[in-house]
Structures are given as structure tokens and as C-alpha cells.
């Protein structure tokens, strides 16, 4: 049984991603460090979709990106293992 219980947020249907970053197979802390680095290369207001395949990352990536001032628009389980995190850069 998973020790994490990510907060599910339904992303608005009218939001499209400017970048998608597949971080499947990556573990903590790479998932949030790489998400942050990708956001640093994007413009303010742009939307990033990050795909992770473990519950730990689906829990702490949204929180870490929020702590840095970004807006998490969605955190949704898309299949048995994968989560799609949608975030708008501050």
C-alpha cells in the first residue's frame, strides 16, 4: 500500500500546456529539481505539464512548486502508475 496520498486537483479543460516534461523513472529529489529547472527556462504565465510515476513525487512536486510561488492547476492520476501535474509559472 502506498504511504502517500496525493491531493487530486482536476486541471481546467481550457488550459493547454506550453511544455510537457516526462519524469517517469525519476526519483526524489530529481523530480522536483528538474521540474523547477524546466520552469526556470519558461516565461512567466506559461504552463508546464510534468508526468511522474510515483505517489511520493505526485505529493511533493506540487507542494514544492507552490512553495516557490507557482500555481498548481492540476494533479491527476492518468493511469495505474502515472500522474500529470499541471503548473503555471509565477
Amino acid at each position: 500500500m502506498s504511504r502517500w496520498n496525493p491531493l487530486v486537483i482536476q486541471a481546467p479543460t481550457d488550459v493547454s500546456a506550453d511544455e510537457t516534461f516526462d519524469l517517469k523513472g525519476e526519483i526524489c529529489p530529481y523530480t522536483f529539481v528538474k521540474s523547477k529547472l524546466m520552469l526556470e527556462m519558461m516565461e512567466s504565465g506559461q504552463v508546464l505539464q510534468v508526468i511522474v510515476d510515483n505517489d511520493e513525487s505526485a505529493t511533493n512536486v506540487p507542494k514544492s512548486l507552490t512553495n516557490e510561488g507557482n500555481t498548481v492547476l492540476g494533479c491527476e492520476k492518468v493511469n495505474e502508475t502515472d500522474w500529470m501535474i499541471t503548473v503555471r509559472k509565477k
Binding site: 504511504r3 502517500w4 496520498n5 491531493l7 516534461f21 526519483i27 526524489c28 529529489p29 530529481y30 529539481v33 528538474k34 529547472l37 524546466m38 527556462m41 511520493e56 505529493t59 511533493n60 507542494k63 514544492s64 512553495n67 516557490e68 510561488g69
Partner: protein, 265 residues
Amino acid sequence: MMAHPVMVSVAWLQEHLNDANVRIIDARVSDPRLPIGYRISHIPGAVPFDLNHDLYEMAPGGPHMKTPDAIAKILGARGIANDSIIVLYDEGAGPLAGTVYWLLKYLGHADVRVVNGGWHAWTQAHAPTTRDIPQITPATYTAQVDENQHSTCEWIQENSGRADLLLLDTRTDSEYYMGHIPGAVNLSFDEAIDFASQALKDTTTLCAQFERVGATPDKEIVVYCGSGSRSAHTFMVLQDLGYPRVRNYKGSIMDWADHHGLPLE
């Protein structure tokens, strides 16, 4: 108390860049999809250390830490000896540098420093960078494992009744409230980082944050997180503040709950 502080400034490293005994380790992310990292540009003389390849090896059930001797061989091949002064950096004062810092202390390395603010601070200061790969003279590195830098679930269980022991969960508050090791207090590792400068917060602020959750220097503090990297960052911060007894539970929640089935509260 520490003989020297862990965190050093950009100016300090610039002054010591060409010291014969200084070895610089670049612990930043290496991902071909990102136009950053060691292969693009680094601090002159630095050698890379990629946690994904140099610390972990894939095994059934997820990545496992390599043996101390295997890691020692990698360090030696990169020109690092037991008496080297190692200076680490990552993107900021982040968890990758923290993880390599803990690893080196666990391997018994005496003198490990970390650039406060990391690559961000280095480039903000317009300090020199290069793409040149340094010429390396291989050295002999011998792991002298220091178990006082490390905790296991057995050690926590044997010591859990001690009044001077504090378990510090360094995950986010939401992870903590989903279930933590009984008796642990919570302070997320990134509370130590000033996001604007990517350096650590000032000492007074850091001490106040730790003391607010009961993490005082008179206690032996065991830090943990999900898999031992975020907690390694807190381990580094506490050692920089001069806390004399700090252990990182590298296995963390994955070991405690998933591998051993021990209870969470």
C-alpha cells in the same frame, strides 16, 4: 563543534580555486533535455558526480545505494583522495549537494564544504566558468564508513525511548500528516532555503526554525524523509550550524514502512 563551517561563499572558492588539495564536485542535474549542467558549463576544475549513476544502481524494487567501496572507487578515479578538501555545488544550496555531502561524511571524509547558493550564486557573481574537462590524476580513496552519520530503523527502535533523541521529518507538511514515524516532528527541508538567492537563510533564522520544533543542539537528531535525500539536506544544514550529533536515516519512510512494515502515526 565543527572545525570549520560547511557552507562557503563564492568568494572563498574563488580564492581557493587553484589550491593543490581542493577538489570540486559538480552535483547538478545532468539531463540532455535541459540545456544546463556539467557538459554545458561548470566551475573550472570541477568533476561531475551524478547521483543517478554514481550513488545508485538499479535493483528489483527500485534504486539501491552502491556499496561504500564501489563509491570510493568512483571518487578515486575522479582524482579525490581521503585528505582532499572537497567543495560541492549544485544548482543552489539544494538537496543534490546535500545528498553528496551526507554521502561523503558517511564515507568518513573529514573536510567537505558546500558553495552557498551553488551555481546560481557562482554565475550571479560572474565568477569564471568553463566547458573544459579537467585532467585528472587518479587517486586512491578508501571508504572509512562512519556509522555515527547514519541511522537504521533498528537504531531508531533501540534508541526511541531516549529523552535526548529527536526524530525530524523533513518532508512537506502534507506528507507528514499522511503518516510519519511515531514521535517525529516536522520541518520541511526547503524551509532552510531562501528562494530568491537559492542560498541558505541566515543562521539566526535557521536556528529559530529548528528550535521551534524542538531540534536543539543538545539533542541527537535523526533526520528522515521519503528516501533520504531531502533529509540529507537538513543533515548538511544542521552540521553547518554546529549541531554535534546528527544522523541521516537514508532508508527513511520507504525502508521504515514499505520494507519493514513498521507503523506510522
